[in-house]
């Protein structure tokens, strides 16, 4: 039976996170929890919250670019609006609404769980499922309303 060797053979040089430095300075392997734990929706919700914060940072940069376009006057704003109304712009816009609703639902789940509430299996699964799946129908509803009220058109 063979085991793959760590890249450099030195645990202190490890970049994979498979080793941790204990408070007493000793380097020890991390418990192999990701390999032995059955996949669970709470893990998906937790990972997606981290992904959402990354995506929300990109979204906030787009929002700052929009602010800049408004501050640079009608011509710059017209260019920004033309881009936002293009198919690619609408695709980005839809993605941003998914990210925003994901931030709201998953953030609410995180805050509730941080107080120590809803950590039993049933409620934790419920909140995680809402956080994972909820953003998509909410974003679809948001865009259906945008098209129905003729704020946006193709």
């Amino acid at each position: 039976m063979t085991h793959p060797a760590p890249s450099s053979g030195d645990a202190r040089d490890d970049q994979t996170g498979r080793f941790v430095t204990q408070p007493n300075g000793r380097v020890r392997p991390l418990s192999p929890h990701l390999q032995v734990w059955r996949w669970h929706v709470t893990m998906t919700a937790s990972i997606l919250f981290r992904v959402t914060i990354g995506a929300a940072t990109v979204g906030a940069m787009i929002a700052v670019a929009w602010l800049a376009a408004v501050a640079f006057g009608p011509d710059a704003y017209a260019d920004a609006l033309a881009f936002a109304a293009s198919p690619f712009g609408l695709f980005i816009g839809f993605g941003l609404t998914v990210v925003l609703f994901s931030f709201l639902l998953n953030g609410a789940r995180h805050l509730i769980n941080d107080t120590g509430a809803a950590l039993r299996v049933g409620p934790a699964n419920l909140l995680s499922n809402i956080s994972v799946w909820g953003p998509v129908p909410l974003a679809v509803l948001f865009w259906v309303l945008l098209f129905v009220t003729e704020r946006v058109s193709l």
Binding site: D14, Q15, G17, R50, I53, G54, A56, T57, A60, M61, A63, V64, L67, A68, V70, A71, F72, G73, P74, A76, Y77, A78, L81, A84, A85, G93, T97, L100, F101, F103, L104, G107, A108, H110, L111, D114, F142, L145, L146, R151, V152, S153
Partner: protein
């Protein structure tokens, strides 16, 4: 500076500033959730709007203040969140320090730019560059 080891409710009190950052993260998230709902409703109102409508929206003091608060709290929160992400995955001290500095610089620049644009729009200033770099 570490403080001496201390327990509260049989839970170890953090030796440095970890617990303080955690509390700030939670407080920021708590503020960002109602602000996020407001951002969604604002996005709905301003989607596809012409320049005059958007400019008029910024002339409301309430809108300008809420948007500036949203930007400041969000970029503060994002800075702390990215700090956690970097600390989780980057283990070489030099790389970690560099990335944390980069995260802080980006967040401060974005927050400052947001407030700069919002204040100009709220005051009804002339469109940029308006003399800057001209």
């Amino acid at each position: 500076m570490s403080r001496p080891i201390e327990f509260r409710n049989r839970v170890k009190v953090s030796e440095r500033h970890g617990a303080g950052e955690w509390t700030v993260e939670k407080a920021a998230l708590l503020v960002l959730i109602p602000l996020g709902v407001w951002v969604a409703s604002t996005g709905f109102t301003l989607a596809g709007a012409d320049y005059q409508t958007v400019f008029a929206w910024f002339s409301s003091r309430l809108n300008a203040v809420l948007l500036a608060v949203t930007a400041l709290v969000f970029f503060g929160y994002a800075g702390l969140a990215w700090k956690v992400i970097v600390e989780d995955y980057i283990h070489r001290p030099a790389n970690k320090a560099l990335l944390l500095a980069l995260v802080n610089v980006i967040c401060v620049v974005l927050a400052a730019a947001s407030v700069f644009f919002i204040v100009r729009l709220a005051l009804g200033s002339a469109p940029l560059p308006a003399g800057f770099g001209a």
